[in-house]
Amino acid sequence: MSETNIRRRKLLLSAAAAATTPFWINSVRAQEGPIRIGYPVPLTGPYAAEAKDQVQGAELAIMEFNESGGLNGRKCELLVRDTKLSPGEAATRTLELIEKDKANFIVGSLSSSVQLAVNNVAKERRIIYSSISQSDTINEVKDWSPYTFHEAMNPTMTAGAVGRYVFPKYGKRIAFLTADYAYGHEMVKGFQRAGKPFGVETLIDIRHPIGASDYSTFLPRIMSLKPDILFFCNFGRDLISSIKQAGDFGLKNNTRFVTPQLTLTARLAGGSDVFDGVIGGATYYWRLEDTVPSAKAFNDKYRKAYAGAVPSDFSALGYSSVRAILTAARNAGSTDSDKVSTALRQLKYDFTKGPEYYRNCDHQAVQSVLVIESKSKNMKDKNDVFDIVAIEKPDESHLRSCQELGHKA
């Protein structure tokens, strides 16, 4: 076949494609057919395990929704996309989800920067986005939109609850080892805010580059100050490395290690020795089932669906965010962004951890915060790694006020 022939065929093909591709993709979102939830999460990269939990939680919620008849018979499907933990990649995937796959809602993400990127793309196109990753910034008026919901806790709540627990118990002279990005900075602010009434004294706040592999150079100075509490305001691998190295320097002998967010996945990756005695906050821990009925119900469903596995914080977030949106859609009787947004605002729910609701001004999920301590003894099974030492009840007064965030209400 000659080259010209091939070219002509290609041209015909693309003309045909052009004819079938509507130019008005953006204007009308499908009100028929299945409900589509776009789910951009970091399937590959360092947080793949967390992402997998998020997906499993979301799928469980969708299974329940479909089994109970959907939205007047309309079933829901989950469109999982890999963000590779990159905001640029996430923005592209979100564009694809909205433009090509006609997603009705977007849920997901697992980093401060990725959720802000996804949020920006979704809000411009008036699509509801529910974020399941910690951030204070997304609550603020600059990034927020009527279509932005924040299911995860935010640093102010998390650090606040942990701080209110540890300050009276372990002392008022504190030091920070902080990952130098929004998450770390916000956590520091959260601790200091909570510490003000207790009169805590910040000895030093050392900022380390995110993703640093060696923390030794920051440790001698902290040691020389002999703080009562050392806060590790970092996440994932940074947390594991820095806690481990600080332990090696012998810092643990006189100083209590605290981190705002202590997750099951990090604890399992780091090992019991490294984390022994470390205190932190959590959205969810499966042992909540001992006291909270909805947690028991959620765990049972999860175990049944995933061969006995217990849900992590990320499974719980994935589950409750998706379930909240679908419940709201059912309440609204529609998938229209404005109607569902209103319904979400009116929603009071208890899916995994006791009662929750979205605050009206910034759509932050007001929820209880768990304070947990890592243990190396008396473990019932491999997942029994924390003791829940305190639970702070849902309380708007622990959040930054709407005015502070720049909202009118």
């Binding site: 080259e3 920067s113 920006n120």
Partner: protein, 324 residues
């Protein structure tokens, strides 16, 4: 080569395509959105293709392997985003701002690296690129730091009273294509110009070019700055496309990506960068759905090309056409 008799239809096509190379590339880009699985992917190919064109000007035509070109893509994006978000500039004025900053950073970086050659050049550009990364990372108040810059939003474009919906992916694509086409025209003219000849001579034999009387350092510096400016334009368009500027657009892996694209497509060819960008982004897009090990797939393809097809896809194709 010029003036070579075209005996077969294949050669005839090759000659025709290379004679009207800008038109040929634009024709491809016009139909691209209907060939790709999604419009967003087409827009990414458009942007990264231009990024690779800028890079290729330095690598393919001047022979300098830079591992720091993300600095230009990223600073182009940031400058465009920052003037829009913080200073309320209109989008059409923000694009030149992106180009300008990228060119300026190119000038500073070029001044430092132009004395080093070969592999050293690659390493030093990499390290300086990381410096730029840190500078933007630290300037959190302006750039948003790790969170990236959000809010580079354009809803409609007003063209003398004719309103275009910039949220419509096809409209957005074609608006960006206008800029890419202009850049391609410029690069094509540049390559055909006397200066283009000097670039080639520097690539071919630096010592000889100097002996002929060309100031090799200044020639390289100018090439470096122009290359940076084109990558800056790609960055500016990327900011508009994504409506955000992610910090990893400055990361060295983004520099590595453009190296892969250029080599895979065919360095020193006009169309190669787009072929390379399309291939890598497409493979990533498809491989991501099929397997979690997309990096493995991309890496293996890349190694095969380095070993067996150093001319790249388009370069090998042209070579094959030429031999028919």
């Amino acid at each position: 080569m010029e003036g070579a008799p075209s005996r077969t239809p294949y050669r005839l096509i090759a000659t025709q395509v290379s004679r009207h190379r800008v038109a040929a590339v634009i024709a491809f880009l016009v139909v691209l959105p209907w060939l790709t699985p999604s419009h967003a992917l087409a827009a990414n190919i458009l942007i990264f293709g231009l990024y690779a064109v800028g890079f290729n000007l330095l690598f393919g035509y001047t022979g300098l392997l830079s591992f720091g070109h993300a600095a230009f893509l990223g600073s182009g994006s940031y400058a465009t985003g920052v003037v829009m978000v913080h200073y309320g500039w209109p989008w059409w004025l923000a694009i030149p701002a992106g180009i300008t900053l990228a060119a300026l950073i190119g000038l500073c970086m070029g001044y430092l690296v132009i004395r080093s050659r070969g592999i050293y050049f690659a390493m030093v550009t990499l390290a300086l690129g990381q410096c730029v990364y840190f500078a933007f990372y630290k300037a959190e108040a302006i750039t948003g730091g790790e969170n990236g810059l959000r809010g580079v939003n354009v809803e409609t474009i007003d063209l003398l009273g004719w309103k275009l919906d910039f949220q419509d992916p096809i409209t957005k694509y074609f608006v960006m294509l206008v800029f890419v086409a202009a850049a391609l025209w410029f690069v094509s003219r540049l390559l055909a110009s006397p200066f283009g000849a000097v670039l080639e001579s520097v690539r071919e034999n630096e010592k000889r070019a100097a002996a002929c009387g060309y100031d090799v350092a200044r020639t390289k510096l100018l090439a470096f700055v122009i290359s940076a400016a084109i990558c800056g334009l790609a960055g500016a368009l990327r900011a508009l496309h994504l409506s955000i500027v992610p910090i990893d657009s400055l990361h060295y892996l983004t520099s590595g990506q453009v190296v892969m694209m250029s080599l895979l497509g065919g360095m020193g060819t006009f169309f190669g960068p787009f072929v390379g960008a399309a291939t890598i982004l497409w493979v990533e897009d498809v491989a991501t759905i099929l397997t979690k090990s997309w990096q493995l797939v991309v890496g293996v393809i890349f190694i095969i090309f380095v070993l067996f097809f150093p001319r790249g896809i388009w370069g090998s194709f042209l070579h094959w056409l030429g031999r028919r």
